[in-house]
Amino acid sequence: MTLTVTDLTITRGGVPVLEGLNFALETGRALILRGPNGIGKTTLLRTLAGLQPPLVGTIKGAEDQIAYASHSDGLKPTLTVTENLAFWASVFGTDSIQPALDAFALNELADRHAGNLSAGQKRRLGLARMLVTGRSIWMLDEPTVSLDKDAVQMFADAVRAHLAEGGSALIATHIDLGLDGDILDVGANKAKSGPLDDFDGGFL
């Protein structure tokens, strides 16, 4: 399934931040999202994931296809690693969590409570969640924060395997993951504001 974005303008707190976005994400491809801090990368990912409506423009092929990983991992500290993963697996209607445990080397930690994990281990668990969703388009927001070198490698391998299976990924990151992917720099799409005396509609 190809994700197609046409003439998209997105807002944060009612103010347009990015405009005129056009791109397509084909199956088997990765797209690396670049741009300075605060430009609206997170907002773009949230808009594509369907958490907020775009101001103008269309998003095609995203419905029920996206697995979204934000800055926070949505883990419950009093549940074990297995329980956390199994919960998300059953919410998304998939059954096996073993591949996810393998891919992120979580087998030894399987019975530990998520609250007792280190920051990097939690992040690995959060990323393992992407595998159990069974969704084809991954959207990751700064996925490598607090990961060490080995873990980054694990993550890159997982993405590569996902792409090989016909999935696709949109990743906002500043690290070179060594992926065969295109780069989308949104810096050029910074929204230009209209004239000051435009008093209508959105107050801007």
Binding site: A49, L51, S72, D73, G74, E83, F87, V91, G93
Partner: protein, 218 residues
Amino acid sequence: MIALLLRDLKLAFRAGGGFGLGLAFFLIVTVMVPFAVGPQSSLLATIAAGVLWLGALLACLLSLDRLLALDWEDGSLDLLATAPLPLEAVVTVKALAHWLTTGLPLVLVAPILGVLLNLPAPGFFWLVISLLVGTPALSVIGTFGAALTVGLKRGGLLLSLLVLPLYVPTLIFGAEVARRGALGMETQTPLLMLAGITAATIALLPFASAAVLRINLR
């Protein structure tokens, strides 16, 4: 849906999950009442039904700010919103879990506290019935309030301010059933009204809660 319910129950029972806090609060409030109004058993018998209803309502209210706020803080709500589960189902399950961990235990211990307050014998049956029928409405309305205030820091006080007026009809009819039952009067009308409110809130309010949650997630 069942997975979500099981997870919420599991979280409530594990350490720090807050199960039992509502119960303890209910117990303490009820025990404090005689200290405030005096120990005459006739007076206590008159107000017992109302005090127990009010105590149960406050105990419900107390646990509302954890209902969605925890899932909001750790990002689980974002993920649930992108999951195949509709948000209407999510808030319904959340309300059900809240009722199972807060409302139902209150219903079960209310008769014991009724003994402490000298509740007249015929009142016990109607107290349990009215709480059993009424507390689900409290959980569902409370979920709506929690969804409204989920994005706010220190939203707890505001949550109470918003939810308490919405609790008025439930409290009036619920306490009326228990009070009339204790006096041996006819209880059918208020009980029907109470059941009507509960049924209508369960059927309709999750849509409002889900809509409000979507707005907050934006």
